[in-house]
């Protein structure tokens, strides 16, 4: 979903950059309190994993591919604000080292693929886990739905930016973007759930957005509710 330069008007690119820069700046400020010793290497490895898996385009319908965005995964591992920092590092490296995503569109890309997903999942999943029943299945399902929604909301933001830029009518581009990203979002959900369940099995204490402690969390659940 990396927007190249030329797709967005300068005004739209500038306006989209404002919330992106604000979120990353706030994330950097928050980092001073959120970054305990163990999260320093975790932040590094989360960014590296997201970068690597973003390269792994998987095929979806009709000769189209998609790849992980990773904001949902970063938000579950590190919380919403550190996730904004992680996504900014990944997207900035992609832009300037790999010429992936436009320079003037970097703010919009960070908003669409980073900030929106990080905040929606970082806060939305936390809220959902409070109201839903506890348990491993609920937790992983919520993470998956959150990941799918992060992609859909990012695609919506991208469609709005393209529409307001006058590149393509909003009424045309929105259903097109949502249609293809509904499929890509399933890939996002699968990868996010796989990665989160691996961390859950190895070191559940490392998950910032953690499962609700209903009963003792065991690898083999004793029985249903």
């Amino acid at each position: 979903m990396h927007i190249p330069d030329g797709f967005l008007s300068n005004d739209v690119a500038a306006v989209a950059a404002v919330p992106a820069v604000a979120a990353v700046a706030y994330g950097l400020r928050r980092a001073s309190s959120a970054l305990d010793e163990r999260r320093v290497p975790l932040l590094g490895v989360t960014a590296a994993f997201i970068f690597a898996v973003q390269m792994l385009n998987f095929p979806v319908a009709g000769g189209t591919s998609g790849h992980l965005l990773g904001a949902a995964l970063a938000a579950i591992l590190l919380g919403p604000w550190l996730a904004c920092v992680v996504m900014a590092v990944v997207l900035t490296a992609q832009c300037f080292v790999f010429a992936d995503g436009g320079v003037t569109a970097l703010g919009a890309n960070d908003l669409n693929m980073g900030v929106i997903g990080a905040l929606v999942v970082g806060f939305g999943v936390v809220w959902a886990l409070k109201v839903l029943p506890p348990g491993r299945a609920t937790y992983l399902a919520t993470a998956g739905v959150g990941a799918w929604m992060a992609v859909m909301l990012g695609a919506t933001a991208c469609a709005i930016e393209l529409g307001v830029s006058g590149t393509v009518p909003f009424a045309t581009v929105l259903p097109a973007m949502l249609g293809v990203h509904a499929l890509i979002g399933i890939g996002e959900a699968v990868i996010t759930v796989a990665a989160v369940s691996a961390v859950l099995a190895a070191r559940p204490d490392l998950l910032t957005v953690a499962p609700r402690e209903g009963r003792r969390f065991a690898p083999a659940p004793a029985g249903g509710v």
Partner: protein, 110 residues
């Protein structure tokens, strides 16, 4: 709780997985247009895309390591270098942010 896997092991395994995927899996990724590119092709605005002049000098354009003829090797090397590089940059950012905070108090040496 019983024994926990040490953090260093978790980080090392995850980093090895990431670097391994970047190196060995990326050459086999789908090269079809992604969702946005597909929409841009279908609705006729793909040609509006430009490469910014800042990006003309980008070190590894389009995830192909320069000077390598074999496209799979070029992509794999780009994935390897990129994944390690992103780890180092993100680690460096996090380390610096933490040090900035730790400087006034410095509760523990080392």
């Amino acid at each position: 709780m019983a024994r926990r896997i040490p953090l260093g092991v978790v980080v090392a395994v995850a980093l090895a997985l990431a670097v391994g995927l970047g190196l060995a899996a990326s050459p086999y990724a789908s090269s079809s247009p992604d969702g946005l590119e597909r929409v841009a092709e279908t609705h006729g605005f793909i040609d509006q895309g430009q490469v910014h002049r800042v990006q003309e000098g980008s070190p590894i354009p389009d995830y192909a390591f320069p000077g390598i003829d074999d496209p799979r090797l070029a992509t794999g090397l780009a994935g390897f270098v990129g994944t390690l590089g992103v780890f180092l940059v993100a680690f460096g950012v996090a380390y610096t942010l933490r040090r900035l905070r730790a400087r006034p108090a410095a509760p523990r040496a080392g």
